[in-house]
Amino acid sequence: MAAFPTHEMLLPELWPFLELRGTVHTVSTEGIRHLARKFSLPEREVMAELLLQNIWPVRFSRSMGCVTAEQLARLLRCRVLIAGCGGLGGHVAEMLARMGAGSLILCDPDAFDESNLNRQHFCTEKTLGLPKAEVCRNALLDIASYMDIEARTVMLDENNLPELLARADVVIDCLDSVARKKMLEDAAWKASVPCVHGSVSRSEGLAVFDTTHPRPFSQLYPNETEEDAVPMNTGVLTVVGTACLMVALLMRQLRGRRGNGQLLHFDLSIPELERLSLTGPEPEGNA
């Protein structure tokens, strides 16, 4: 494989596909595909290389100012495991696809049901009865065909999580019960994979991502078990808002910012966003 060219060599090569926006060159998908063929690289890797030379794919040109080129290159090279493709998971997946995630593993054992229509991003009358992970994968590829997306119609448990976590750089917890969230954060902690947490009920959401508090649900709910799980009602505004906070916390980590033990609590009935401090006893084994 030939070495990826430098900025000076790229500009003539990409000339038919370039546009100058302000002081920054942008390149169309056609140009990215041209380089991907020439250098036998995945398109997402070509985009990451270009971004590191401050040449922006047109599809991300309007993200300038929201993310840095380095942050976006890291996201393109990142593999994110999304645990649950329902309310939070569907919106998180869509946001990540638009923001520039390169690789996802989507896991959900369920199919879309009529009761999901009020809040789940990829649930439509046409997708009722279809597996959530598969529907989500196909819809994301319509947004970003360069993504590497694996859809797994499985219930995550202690047995299958180690293999999936071993291939993930980060996991996003979109599961739907406190006990299952505790199981996931425990597996992620054992695998040393950072976990972004979120949960919703009615008009309120919680989000936390702090590698110094790797098991916040165990800290918040030390005694909660699977038997305590009850279905929680919520709507599209709550899941979208909470999904935004979760993805924002992930992007903050990609900028190298550390968490500080703060739990974001979001209440749309007022509406307000407050920061709460986790100060409970650390679960056994936490550093």
Binding site: D176, S201, L220, Y221, M232, L276
Partner: protein, 82 residues
């Protein structure tokens, strides 16, 4: 002085007429004595078994934590939907 109380999600159903914007104001009848968060919850009629998280002045606490005049206490049930 009084204690500001905030209720989350399903705990609001336990206090008819609860207004999220203002929460509840609790005036201790027996002067500025120190209560626990659990005692305060019992006095306003919350089922203690449904309270999973207690925050006193935005810091994680528990039902045994002391609550003083001027504090803000927030009670949460399990919030675990996804």
């Amino acid at each position: 002085m009084s204690i500001q109380i905030k209720l989350s999600t399903t705990l609001r159903d336990c206090v008819p007429g609860y207004v999220p914007e203002t929460g509840l104001l609790f005036e201790p009848e027996d002067g500025p004595s120190v209560l626990t968060a659990g005692e305060l919850a019992r006095r306003i009629g919350l089922p203690l078994e449904e309270i999973k998280i207690v925050m006193v002045n935005c810091r994680q606490s528990d039902l045994n934590s002391p609550v003083n005049n001027g504090d803000t206490v927030a009670y949460f049930p399990a919030v675990g939907g996804g």
